[in-house]
Symmetry: C5
Subunit: 84 residues, 5 copies
């Protein structure tokens, strides 16, 4: 799993129905890095450091085997020091 920081919510009005109402969050592993989009299955707020699961495991972690996700947040890290 990857360690990423939540930046903001991504708004996509025109999207697949299968994405449902789960929030899509912009996450980065460090400032300036390529932003990715993760499905929030926990309830995060901007600034949280989170654990993101990718690969086929991201689908079920987002709710069901047919959910179209390749990156899903499965936990919030209690304390993370990115310099650590």
């Amino acid at each position: 799993m990857r360690i990423m920081r939540v930046e903001k919510t991504l708004v996509s009005t025109n999207r697949q129905a299968e994405l449902g109402h789960r929030p899509l969050l912009v996450v980065r592993d460090k400032p300036g890095a390529v932003p990715l989009v993760a499905v929030d299955a926990i309830g995060c707020i901007p600034g949280d450091w989170v654990i993101c699961v990718s690969s086929s495991a991201a689908r079920e972690a987002a709710g069901s085997k047919s959910y179209p996700s390749d990156l899903t947040i499965v936990g919030i890290i209690d304390n993370w020091n990115p310099e650590g």
Copy 2:
């Protein structure tokens, strides 16, 4: 999921029948980056910033579990500032 920009349609006359009639689009995450090919399941036009799902989730997102896709567009982003 990855954030990519739609560049143009890719024409491939000689291709697997399983690809059907879904458009194949050339996408890049920034100008000059390596181009990738995504299946359009939404209806995009060049210039759109889109959400692309990869991994095994790309298959069902393209229409069925047996669709040969590893990158499928699942949403158009309302407003995306690549510098943001």
Copy 3:
């Protein structure tokens, strides 16, 4: 999917029976890049620019769910300008 160029056929006499008789081709996304091996499900010749599907979709695209491929050619691009 990735855009790759066919370079040559790869000969592997000692290989898994599950690979069958499908040609294995050396492909690169640009000159000097790391070479990869793709299963040819179309009928390509050296010099062709092709669409390669990776991930779990590469298996069925190569013929069956149990085919041991992680990169399969699913289409030949009609016109590709690598500088484009």
Copy 4:
């Protein structure tokens, strides 16, 4: 599989129930590299060099097909010389 070194345990109080009680460990392939999070299915201690399986195989290696892991430790290496 990747060769990684165990650094420490990661604490995430607010996490998916499916993660259960398996330890989540911070691992790196070399000092200063991007840290990843792996599920410990063996019983490791900080400093161990371990074999990590990724992709869909990480799920079953963590205990079941529905376990949300994309990186699971499947073995401890007896002797590993990172300069080797």
Copy 5:
């Protein structure tokens, strides 16, 4: 698939039972590159240039759908010139 060179056998006494007795080999795509671990399903010796399949296809190529592999050797290349 990736083209890798076999370096040596990896010894892991404390490992998951599901790995069975298949040899685990250290492979690299060039000298000095990050070493990976591949399951040998062919019977290789150090120095061989081999074809490695990754992703979900690596599991069945290693013997069964539940084998915890993400990189499996499926063929030995007859002649490989890494400068080629």
